[in-house]
């Protein structure tokens, strides 16, 4: 299985629920796909959609956004704002010609280590099926130098994109 595509996933977690779910998955020694790399935020409401675009343009094949279940936000209701931004972001991605399935929203409470592990593994499989994003990577999955991108079949230039979106 050496030629199997191994996607790179960036996962955004909430300090109060999903980050603790990831901790719990660890404490309970649950196994999940190693393709995900996590970033801790204080709340899913902190998630600026440009973080997701930066991750995708920087080489990630998928982005997982995780937060507290609706009604359980540590900051009362900020996960609803994450939900709104997520829905908008999916439309933006479609407009940019990127499969909106590359971004997934998962609610996971601090007690749901098993859910966190299962959802992560499932998402990696979904992205594996979609294939590489190649938005700044060559076919071997290596990062392309900026000069190379002009020859690429992908029209959007990530560096110009970064300029448009205030980071």
């Amino acid at each position: 299985m050496t030629d199997q595509f191994e996607p790179t996933i960036i996962g955004f977690t909430c300090n109060w629920c999903s980050y603790r779910a990831a901790d719990l998955a660890g404490t309970a020694r649950m196994k999940y796909a190693p393709n995900v790399r996590l970033i801790r935020l204080m709340c899913s409401g902190r998630l600026d959609p440009t973080f997701v675009l930066r991750a995708l343009s920087g080489g990630a094949d998928g982005v997982m956004i995780t937060g507290c279940h609706p009604g359980e936000c540590h900051y009362i209701e900020q996960n609803y704002k994450a939900l709104r931004r997520f829905l908008l972001l999916k439309r933006v991605l479609t407009g940019l010609g990127i499969e909106p399935e590359r971004v997934k929203l998962v609610w996971a409470s601090a007690a749901e280590g098993a859910k966190f592990a299962a959802e992560t593994t499932a998402f990696v499989e979904e992205i594996r099926k979609l294939g590489p994003l190649c938005w700044g990577k060559d076919e071997d999955g290596r990062m392309k130098d900026d000069e190379d991108i002009g020859n690429s079949s992908i029209k959007i230039h990530p560096s110009s994109f970064e300029k448009e979106v205030p980071a």
Partner: protein, 665 residues
Amino acid sequence: MTEKIGVYVCHCGSNIAGVVDVEDVAKWAAEKLGHQGVVIARDYKFMCSSLGQELIEKDIKELGLTRVVVAACSPHLHEKTFRIAAQNAGLNPYLVELASIREQVSWVHTDKAVATAKSKAVVSGAVSRVIENAPLEEIKVPINPNTLVVGGGIAGIQSALEIANAGFHVYLVEREPSIGGHMAQFDKTFPTLDCSACILTPRMVEAGTHPNITLLTWSEVVNVAGYVGNFNVTIKKKARFVNEELCTGCGICQEKCPKKVIDDVYEAGLGYRKAVYTPFAQAVPNYPVMDKENCIYFEKGTCKACEKFCPTNAIDFNQQDQLLNVEVGNIILATGYDLFDARRVSNYGYGRLPNVFTSLEFERLSNAAGPTNGNIVLRDGKTMPKSVGIIHCVGSRDRNFNNYCSVICCMQGLKFAHLVHERTGATVYNFYIDMRTAYKAYDEFYQRVLEEGTLFVRGKVAEVTDAARYSNERGKLIVQTEDTLAGKQRRIPVDMVILSSGLQPRHDAKEVGKMFGISCSTDGWFTEKHPKLDPVATMTEGIYIVGCAQGPKDIPSSVAQGAAASARVLDKILQREVALEPIKATVNKEMCSGCRICNGLCPFNAIAFIADDNVSEINPALCQGCGTCVAACPAGAISGTGFSNEQINAQIDGLLMKNLEPVGA
């Protein structure tokens, strides 16, 4: 590069080093991240040990490190440890970043090469991020010395008394008309067989009369605002329809009230109370409560017998629910448990077969102050049973209901066996899966019950039925069970069956948890900060959990936890102020366009619009640091300390290895 970064990779014994090639990670960081400013990268057996910390401190001093990355466990475990180490060496503690390669790598992945590669990415992310970290100062806020204790069972009473005795004020809130909790319903307590009321009621009286305790019974917390040191709690004091100032607790109203109601709380449905009542004679406080649902006056508009006979005119039919506001610094939750509803195990026949009793019903039956004056009799109220079956693990250790062990049921079943034996001389069968008699003097009690002649059948009971197959089963309850020691199925006819039901989280535990900002485990018990080292604190600072609210436990453990939480609270009070994480949002007024998008996003009303300057402003005292406004500002005018755009973007790039030294450079 102006920053000098030290990277420290922990082996955590074999916890990390068993799966991740830690030496390779450290070597790689030194080589590939050198251009980012990594000047030293080390691996060490236990970074959190004092030697590990000294290693970092020494490097900070000798190499002049300006940033530190520790690749080890979750920041929720040791972030503070390494921050303190940095501080000791003169480095601002917020210039330390933890990379979690234990919970997020070695414990969840198995392939060594993959795990090592992921560890490098995680370290790379942390290195990129730490460069953008800014030195921060903790925010100190004063602590309100008052404490709120929610729940007046034995755990809550213990907590309240400890703090009150130390000289600080406590608000003790109880939902029921009296404090005492489940313990007030019991007859005897295992393993010493002390009379429960005899050891509990003095404590109740002490709590009720203590000058430092404001007792609020028949009351519930309805809202919690604020944060550690400065909580603002709204308590609903339900209308008692009895003026507490005037009532002397003489009990005449209860005598004269013509309405009898089945008492399914205190008497577990086995006895009656009046519509105006105190749940039991030793209730604290001893003034009664009017049950509006059942009162004839509230139903039909006439009666008022209680009012006519009350010698102090304390009955007040116009009383309304009151909302009280209290300011407290810390909160202890002692909300207890619900008994597992034995009806759910329909094959044991509770609710259908009259002589099947729950544990709480049996407690009332055997209690000298209970509905039968302590006579253990069948549901007909007079026949003494000649044989009794006690079924353990009802609703516990059962995939269909609760997976967990309810801890107290084995000892409770043994206690019942002893009481039945002592009071009726009946033959007693205990049906158990495993006998769990841990803790001091518990197993000795088991031996004692064995010697008394109680019969023990090891196996799971399949069914309790009244369908007799043989003549000796007629008119009896038949316990159909496997006997795993004899290797046989058995049918044992008995007169009475007692279900040693397990404990469950309160039905509203989830909502209560949400109100106080704490979470529940998968089973529904409140989650403690650390299962071993911090069992009474929670992830939310200033909120503590004690007794069965945290998980099933017996009376000694509940009392110990009650006292432990009080010690934690007193520690906080005596420090006079508490340091808060400096994670706050601020508006750069130069960049703010006054669009007011952020204004409506803050659930804490921390953002105000200054019309004169046409800019928004954030009140740092109200800001909780969620960062939603930071993400929303279209002008990028709001920045959030600790989680700035620069930090997160750098971490994204780092995790994607965009920060590596270019080949050939």
